[in-house]
Amino acid sequence: MIIDGKKAVWKDYQKEIADDRYYYVRSCVRQNFFPGSETAFLKIMREELNKDVYEHPCHTSCSGIGYHSDIVPVETTMTVVARQFAIMTEAGYENLMPSCITSFGLYTEILDTWHHFPEVEEKIRKQLKKATGREFDKPKNLAHASDVIFKFRKEIGAKAKYKLINKNTGEPLKVVDHIGCHYAKMFPSKGIGGAEYPYVLSGMIEEWGGQVIDYPERRHCCGFGFRQYLVQANRGFSIACSKEKFESMKPFKPDMIITNCPGCPMFLDRWQYVINEMEGKRYGQNGEGIPVFTYEEVAGLVLGYDPWDLGLQMHQTDCEPVLDKIGIDYSPEDKYNLETVSAFSKSLV
């Protein structure tokens, strides 16, 4: 591998990311999958980085999950998205920052569609006005929340309590980065590093002390695919995709996986359990699984947040092996103890 070659590709895919004053739209599924992630993100943005992040209780799912499941027609989805824009506009914000990769991809796709077909935008404006009385401006800047963490990775690194380094060996942890398909595969120019060698998570890993693993099936989809998973009969295909990835990354002995999509960590985490149940196979070291994290969770760990505050007890593949390698201070007996939860965790409820 010639790292300078990769750096040259990364240079070709820079994107503009707003500095401050973000309108944050949550994912519809992440709060169930990995409930600490978005809370940790807001804490990092507001308390560690002193950024203005605005949220509105009336924003909804972008309906992308329905769109990608062939349930919601695209025009309906566009109108729902237009309503999110309207809420942003009414609050006086211009920088849209979605939590979800599919939302990010969908917003990008819709803005691009409107760019090429202004008559569609006009129609959606009329529909929104008729249905809700609302009007909107399009966002000036659209960046996924992981783009924003990438932008401030050095600031986070500077405050780090822990590094992604094995405390016993002093070696960097071997980290697999998995990028949600809708981040850059549809619009490579909208992703940091492009679609073939995305840099958004690699940049965080490097900055926080880890070593990125480039394994052959790195670009492979996790297999979620919405309707592929949602229909039980199709799940064999969905899990086979994740298995393909695990088989491919196993020889590199990864210590952990880091993701930036709602679905990927869910499936890379849960499918490890299912594969083990079905075939008795595990892909980590010492007969363990490979712990899977969201980038917010990793940022939180680096900053020294309590693992249980970050919701790591919700992972099906135990994350303790990585916590131990890094040397993170945590209380094993409090993993499921609701009595000891901090104010931070309570804010989740």
Partner: protein
């Protein structure tokens, strides 16, 4: 005929034009941006379809340069261009102003920059090389991997930068298929124990004796041809390459490990040509090559009277076609000069 013609570009086409004009007693100035004439040919080992040594054609062209009636300006580019009363005034980067009766543009082609097909990892993966890199290895007689080992399985990807909307090239570069076949045979000659696989979209064996060479590659050299566009390459833990392709004729996706991957880089309008087009106000086509006024009966004539094209600056061509096209350009120039404009 007491006339002066400027030829821009000292590759196959430019040298042929210069030599022929000079033989007819016309004063020629040949402008070449590199320190040496010969163009891409200098880097090539053997030529398809008969696999003669490229040095034979090189020495034919070199004899032209030694013709003392040609004023050779190497390390020279064009900065300014002016047409007035049937005369062309060309200012070079050295500040010299040349005055000519006609100009022949023979700026040739550039090889497609293979790193643009990011999914193949040229410049990133250790053992992904281009067709041009392989010719260099042939010349050295050293077909080895980055770690010094001898490759056992070699994959050749056709159409890299050709017939590919994603890089803005709709057209076929025409020579890469036969180059792949030639190189596959040469790899087998150098490395008799190797296995070679060509991944192609179509086998475009349109030239004389190309199809025969293809047949020889299959029959005599056991080269495997798999129809399908490779979608991506990755590096494995043991420093091999793994590729994904659909075997379209089996109707199934296929994956395999290879030691080395050779990318058949296509041909693009040269950067030098783009500059000359801009300076001279010359029209280019949708494929970005120079656009001749008539594809059938005037493929040497430009949109400006007195400026002519020769060779691959107008479209991908092999050497035979390039030399024919160059000679046709000479006829056009003579016609033009004779008419006394």
């Amino acid at each position: 005929m007491n006339k002066h013609v400027i030829v821009i570009g000292g590759g196959v086409a430019g040298l042929e034009v210069a030599g022929q004009l000079s033989n007819m007693g016309i004063e020629v100035s040949l402008i070449e941006k590199e320190p040496k004439t010969g163009g891409h040919l200098n880097k090539w080992y053997k030529l398809f379809p008969d696999r003669r040594n490229s040095s034979e054609v090189q020495s034919y062209l070199a004899r032209i340069v030694h013709n003392n009636r040609i004023k050779l300006l190497t390390n020279t580019t064009i900065e300014k261009f002016k047409k007035g009363r049937g005369h062309f005034y060309v200012t070079t980067n050295n500040g010299e102003v040349l005055n000519a009766d006609a100009v022949i543009v023979a700026t040739g082609f550039d090889l497609f920059k293979s790193a643009r097909k990011e999914e193949y990892g040229y410049g990133i993966y250790d053992n992904v090389i281009t067709s041009a890199d392989l010719e260099e290895k042939f010349q050295k007689g050293d077909i080895i991997l980055k770690n010094g080992a001898v490759p056992e399985t070699i994959g050749i990807i056709h159409c890299v930068g050709s017939r590919d909307e994603k890089v803005g090239n709709f057209y076929c570069s025409k020579l890469c298929c036969v180059t792949a076949v030639k190189q596959a045979i040469e790899i087998r000659e150098f490395l008799p124990d190797s296995k070679v696989f060509c991944f192609y979209m179509d086998m475009r064996m349109g030239g004389a004796f190309y199809e025969e060479l293809y047949r020889e590659a299959q029959e005599k050299w056991g080269v495997s041809f798999i129809r399908g566009k490779v979608s991506e390459a990755s590096e494995t833990i043991d420093n091999k390459l793994t590729i994904k392709v659909e075997d379209t004729l089996a109707g199934r996706p296929l994956k395999m490990k290879l030691d080395m991957l050779v990318l058949m880089a296509g041909m693009e309008m040269s950067e030098g040509g783009v500059r000359v087009a801009g300076i001279g106000g010359l029209k280019t086509g949708e494929n970005r090559f120079f656009a001749a006024v008539d594809n059938h009966t005037g493929s040497n004539r430009s949109n400006i009277e007195g400026i002519f094209y020769a060779g691959t600056c107008t479209a991908p061509m092999n050497i035979t076609e390039t030399i024919s096209h160059a000679r046709a350009a000479v006829v056009e120039v003579i016609d033009y000069l004779k008419d006394g404009k």
